[in-house]
Symmetry: C2
Subunit: 241 residues, 2 copies
């Protein structure tokens, strides 16, 4: 990754890649790229194209594909975070930081102690924040951000995860390093809302196969717990260095 990185979901056609919309304006007007320059373009689905520009206008940038890589700089393990809907802009912070760190999917959910709901406008903002983090972090795979689900549907979720963990503030038992299966290729970690989980929710998660763990005796804000969990999980799986 030796050049500027941009995002475009368009696939190449006959070896040529076309970028339109705000990203084209950014390339042409802000970064002032010219014909002949080479840029990187990620499609958010894992592909990265090295592109030599052949036409640059304000709204449309075209280039010849020089090379293609798949899943460059992506973690080997799929780590997903189910995060209870949070007040204010905290869920956006979680989406940005989880995207940078390498999380593959973020599932917002409503639980007993969740305050407020996630509007479709707010969900759109989460996706925009995640896309910005994709580019700043040079990721090639854009995390999926689900529409918010009810707690009951979270229990029934079939994401093909090998392991489901839940950070529980009243857990006094094992920590993440004890419960996390090192061989698992995919793991979902559930993090509660500001007020934590109701005990019946933890019981239901455990009945559905989840394993609870503690983050220690200090009380973490939900957004701090989510980012700590993302970093520690990816770190323990060997995907953060």
């Amino acid at each position: 990754m030796a050049h500027d990185l941009y995002y475009s979901p368009n696939p190449p056609e006959d070896g040529m890649l076309t970028i339109t919309g705000p990203e084209a304006r950014h390339i042409s007007r802000v970064m002032r790229h010219e014909v002949g320059n080479v840029i990187g373009v990620v499609d958010g689905a894992g592909a990265e194209h090295e592109v030599e520009l052949t036409a640059v206008t304000a709204n449309r940038v075209v280039g010849r594909v020089l090379s293609k890589t798949r899943y460059a700089r992506e973690p080997e393990h799929r780590v997903a975070i189910a995060q209870a809907v949070l007040k204010g802009d905290h869920l956006a912070q979680v989406c940005a930081q989880a995207t940078e760190l390498g999380v593959s999917r973020i599932i917002p959910f409503q639980s007993a102690r969740t305050v407020g709901r996630l509007s479709s406008a707010k969900l759109e903002r989460l996706c925009a924040v995640s896309l910005a983090a994709l580019k700043s972090s040079t990721r090639t795979l854009l995390p999926v951000i689900d529409a918010p689900v009810e707690f009951g549907d979270l229990l029934k979720l079939d994401g093909g995860f090998e392991q489901v963990l839940v950070a529980y503030e009243d857990e006094t038992g094992p920590g993440l390093d004890t419960v996390l299966k090192r061989g698992a290729s995919s793991v979902l970690v559930v993090v509660g809302p500001e007020g934590g989980f109701e005990p019946f929710e933890i019981d239901a998660l455990k009945a559905a196969g989840a394993v609870s763990f503690t983050l220690g005796p200090r009380r973490l804000r939900a957004e701090t717990a989510a980012v700590a969990v993302a970093a520690m999980t990816l770190g323990l799986l060997g995907d953060l260095g």
Copy 2:
């Protein structure tokens, strides 16, 4: 910790603790505590007193000390973060989250690519943010937040750390789990500014005994790197669960 937790640096005298200022108003007016109620009071230096209130007015709350503990809920290891000064409010976010996670000291520093300076007003705000995080996280020890130091003085800093590590964005070698000494009782981790370190700065840190590590191939924003480093370090040392 079964009751409300408040902060007062005043030591008890003859078994009585006096709380004044905004925290007294918070106890009396906002939380409406009355004579006879039992609250917890931390002094930020490790002590926590269980106090039965004997006098409650708007500006002065007095109580009898029932019991005292030292360093409750504190990590066993001292983990300090040296963080390059950041733009906007990002250093405040780092101070809040590092405090919650259990960091013992935060050392802001100026480096070659640092943008802007840390004014004394901003430093005061960092301390206020850290104090709020102390209370929300139920910590008993308030992290020290140093006045900002020049990079050269960071090299000469004698904090009695058993190990000094530096997160380096161009490092392709070992990760944190490889370089972190598990037996070390105190460690300082250095995190750079938005634009990263100059190679000569890494050379100088290494010459002073620091070991560099990678956080993986993705590019992390400085504040995300700092929080990830705090969580991963405390986690690997067994202090996050």
